[in-house]
């Protein structure tokens, strides 16, 4: 499904998520209320302090967890109870299946959707080439590095041709250099698929480099406190980190997030404004 860049592709309206209290503990208000409109084909990143509900937001949008309140829609249809067709998710944790080869991992979802064998062969071969995994098609995940395993997971999502790709800190476990290079691959993938991408990340530089728009979230319960338009051209790569605008974007994000991050650490407002030398 193609759509106008200014039309909503997915939407959260007044969404909250409250985890019920267990064993005498009070309920945990993890998220919201949150309003978010993802435009067709945009690259949107969410940054925020640890535990602010970023992953919860992604799970609610994916249909992996129900919203306690509010409305979630994808392509105009409500999201409830199951992951809608056309939505792909890549998790932070290594989710490659260790008992399958790289090829079988990537073909896993396609085999269960009734796609014919020739088409599976074509799509998997294409995804493996695109992700630079062609020479490792017969390897098992245990024989690959962390970055390559994450590429397997991305390829497995990519072959399903999702129109909305949700990425939950997919490069969180990788070193800084590998993350930058993986970011380039992600941008390449985004331009080629023209999918809408929602990226959850704790790295401000990663968000600033990759995104069209960045949402900064408050400490728990997470709400959007700032939305930053980067203004980057679609044809970009990791070299934009050298531009002065890049520094301005990360600086603005940090200004928004510093106090919230201190709150998340339990330091509160009093210390948030304190001078480092005080």
């Amino acid at each position: 499904m193609s759509g106008d860049v200014n039309t909503p592709h997915a939407e959260l309206a007044g969404v909250t998520r409250i985890y019920p209290g267990a064993a005498g503990r009070p309920p945990l208000h993890a998220l919201g209320p949150v309003d978010l409109v993802l435009r067709h084909g945009e690259f949107f990143s969410i940054v925020g302090p640890s535990g602010c509900g970023k992953s919860t937001l992604l799970e609610v949008l994916a249909g992996l967890a129900p919203a306690t309140d509010g409305r979630v829609t994808f392509e105009g249809r409500p999201v409830a109870g199951r992951v809608p067709e056309g939505v792909g998710v890549v998790f932070q944790e290594d989710a490659s299946f260790p008992w399958l080869t790289v090829w079988d991992n990537v073909a896993f979802g396609l085999r269960r959707t009734g796609v014919d064998a020739a088409e599976i062969e074509r799509r998997v071969g294409d995804a493996l080439s695109f992700m630079g995994l062609k020479d490792f098609a017969r390897a098992y995940p245990a024989q690959l590095s962390g970055g390559m395993r994450q590429r397997v997971c991305i390829a497995r999502t990519l072959v399903m041709q999702p129109r909305l790709i949700l990425l939950d800190e997919p490069f969180g476990a990788l070193d800084a250099q590998t993350r930058l290079l993986m970011g380039d691959e992600l941008l390449r993938l985004w331009r080629r698929t023209q999918a809408t991408i929602l990226l959850i990340t704790h790295a401000l530089d990663e968000a600033a480099m990759l995104s069209d728009r960045i949402g900064a979230m408050s400490a728990r319960p997470g709400r959007f406190i700032d939305i930053v338009e980067t203004g980057w051209p679609a044809e970009r790569d990791s070299r934009i980190v050298a531009k002065p605008e890049f520094g301005a974007i990360t600086s603005r994000l940090w200004q928004s997030l510093r106090e919230e991050s201190l709150k998340a650490l339990g330091h509160g407002r009093a210390q948030a404004g304190a001078s480092p030398t005080a």
């Binding site: 067709e85 998710v89 998790f91 944790e93 299946f97 260790p98 008992w99 896993f108």
Partner: protein, 248 residues
């Protein structure tokens, strides 16, 4: 040299060392305590030529097969339940571990009271040896499944049944196979101990009878045959175990 060739050389060397040590101890201890390796092999072949010995093998094999099926199916069933139901698992785990450490021979009088003298008691005694490790390994295999695998299955639109078949079972299979391997050895041990203490047939009885008659040759020949059987079966299970674990 290939990896397989190197393994064969290692195996031949290991057997040669065991035989050499055995021969050395025989030379030191004499006929009264031990029979020589070659003589033991010769006597084992003689035993295998006797129809009466095959009745004993059949009796042990029969009891072992039943005990193994009960231990494997029961252990996997209990493990799946305890692994899937957190509270039951938390309550049962220390009990299972305590039972695992208990010398099961202390329970044999109780088994005999419950099942009487005969094959049922041997089967029960073999099964209680094997069922606990299989249950513990299966429970841990299920508990250790990464939740992200289930989430991934959901994002692929898999039904609950397809998730169990294509994700959960393959994810916990390596550990379950490890449990089955341990369960195999302990079940065999349980059946043989059962035959040694309260039976008139079976390989355990043949060993016990040979001990009573101080027939060292028969004692060692039967032990050797059991060792060869256990080693071959265990090697097959170990190969499967390694094949599954090398992927993890």
């Amino acid at each position: 040299m290939t990896k397989a060739g190197s393994r064969i050389v290692d195996l031949v060397l290991l057997i040669a060392v065991i035989v050499a040590v055995w021969q050395g101890i025989y030379l030191l201890a004499g006929d009264a305590a031990l029979s020589a390796p070659l003589e033991t092999v010769r006597h084992a072949i003689e035993l295998l030529a006797r129809p009466r010995f095959w009745l004993d093998i059949g009796e042990s094999a029969h009891a072992f097969a039943y005990a193994l099926v009960i231990a494997w199916l029961g252990g996997v069933g209990i493990g799946v339940w305890l692994g899937g139901h957190r509270l039951s698992g938390d309550v049962a785990e220390p009990i299972l571990v305590a039972l695992y450490s208990l010398p099961k021979v202390t329970l044999y009088p109780l088994i005999l009271l419950l099942f009487g003298l005969g094959i049922s008691a041997k089967i029960a005694f073999g099964a209680i040896h094997g069922i606990i490790p299989v249950a513990i390994f299966t429970m841990n295999a299920i508990r250790n499944i990464k939740p992200v695998y289930v989430k991934t299955a959901w994002t692929m639109g898999l039904s609950p049944l397809a998730t169990v078949r294509t994700v959960l079972i393959p994810a916990c299979l390596p550990e379950i196979v490890s449990g089955l391997r341990v369960g195999f050895s302990l079940t065999l041990l349980g059946v043989l101990i059962g035959e040694m203490f309260a039976s008139k047939r079976g390989l355990g009885f043949v060993i016990m009878n040979a001990i009573g008659l101080n027939d060292v040759r028969t004692m060692l020949a039967v032990t050797l045959l059991l060792f060869v059987f256990a080693a071959l079966a265990n090697s097959a299970l170990l190969a499967l175990d390694r094949h599954l674990h090398k992927r993890v």
